[in-house]
Amino acid sequence: MLNRENSIHTLQNNVVQEHAGIKFQELPFMTKINLRGNPNDKKFLSSANEVLNTILPTRTNIYIKIDSLKIIWLGPDEWLIVDEKGSDKQDLFSKLENSIGSQDASVTDVSENRTVIRIMGKKLFMLLAKFLTLNLDNSLNSSSSVAQTLFIRVPVLLMRHHEHNREPKIDIFTNRSHANYVYKILVDGTQNLDF
């Protein structure tokens, strides 16, 4: 298996860095597959459901979790499938490709496109609000919320993990080439969080 370096140099090998009570981690490599197809096409839906063992989410801006998989709504006909087991990449991809590839749909391996920065901490929303135009209370209001938005100028996908009244935990999906920039800005933003 390929030994991939993380995009953020100070966060290699699952290291967790803490700045002013906010913990940062860059998650190890994960399989990411972009799936597009018509949500009204029964054949497409049933083939996808069979491989993934669950129903593709049609509600906007949510994700569902099943085993090591997360299936994220990206658009009315577009999903991102994330498999924590980066090692099984070929396996999941070929399964999807075999059952859906010949239909009027697309399966694209986008694993190398984005990396995931995980941040945790009580004042997380306060930190994020410094850099986002997004209304976090509306857009990340449940433990299955995702939101695609701009972080300063960088396209990001935010994924909420924590339950209500638990310590906030958010994954930020960002292009690998932008990861260091996003990380540095976030760390800089932790400097005056204690007001």
């Binding site: 801006n61 990206l74 577009e78 135009t133 509306n138 857009s139 939101a147």
Partner: protein, 117 residues
């Protein structure tokens, strides 16, 4: 800056969107039959109204979907958001608001009697 209510994602900042120009421009069925003037008219000529304008917008940094917007270009007030392929809402007779409340004279009048060529 203003907020746009994406049909899928809800209210988001304008910076997440891109405007795709005037909506409801139909591609001519037989381009070879057109004169250069007619073809250029289809390709390049767009209305730039002070008042109510129909536009295509794309939520490019969100769900990346297209939709139509009826916007008052003088105030950025959005009157209606509707799907691609739908007919534009009827706005004839609506006097578009102006930023300081002055009467919508001059070019503003064009939009009150908006008709497609």
């Amino acid at each position: 800056m203003f907020l746009i209510k994406c049909p899928y994602c809800g209210e988001r900042d304008q910076s997440e969107f891109n405007c795709g120009g005037e909506a409801h421009i139909v591609r001519p069925k037989n381009p070879p039959d057109l004169t250069d003037d007619q073809w250029a008219d289809y390709l390049f000529m767009r209305k730039n109204i002070k008042g109510i304008q129909f536009e295509r917008w794309n939520h490019s940094n969100g769900c990346r979907r297209w939709f139509n917007v009826t916007r008052n270009t003088a105030t950025d007030e959005i009157l209606k958001i509707y799907n691609m392929g739908e007919q534009p809402p009827i706005v004839t007779g609506i006097a578009p608001k102006t930023p300081s409340g002055e009467t919508s004279i001059g070019s503003g009048n064009i939009s009150t009697s908006y008709t497609k060529k």
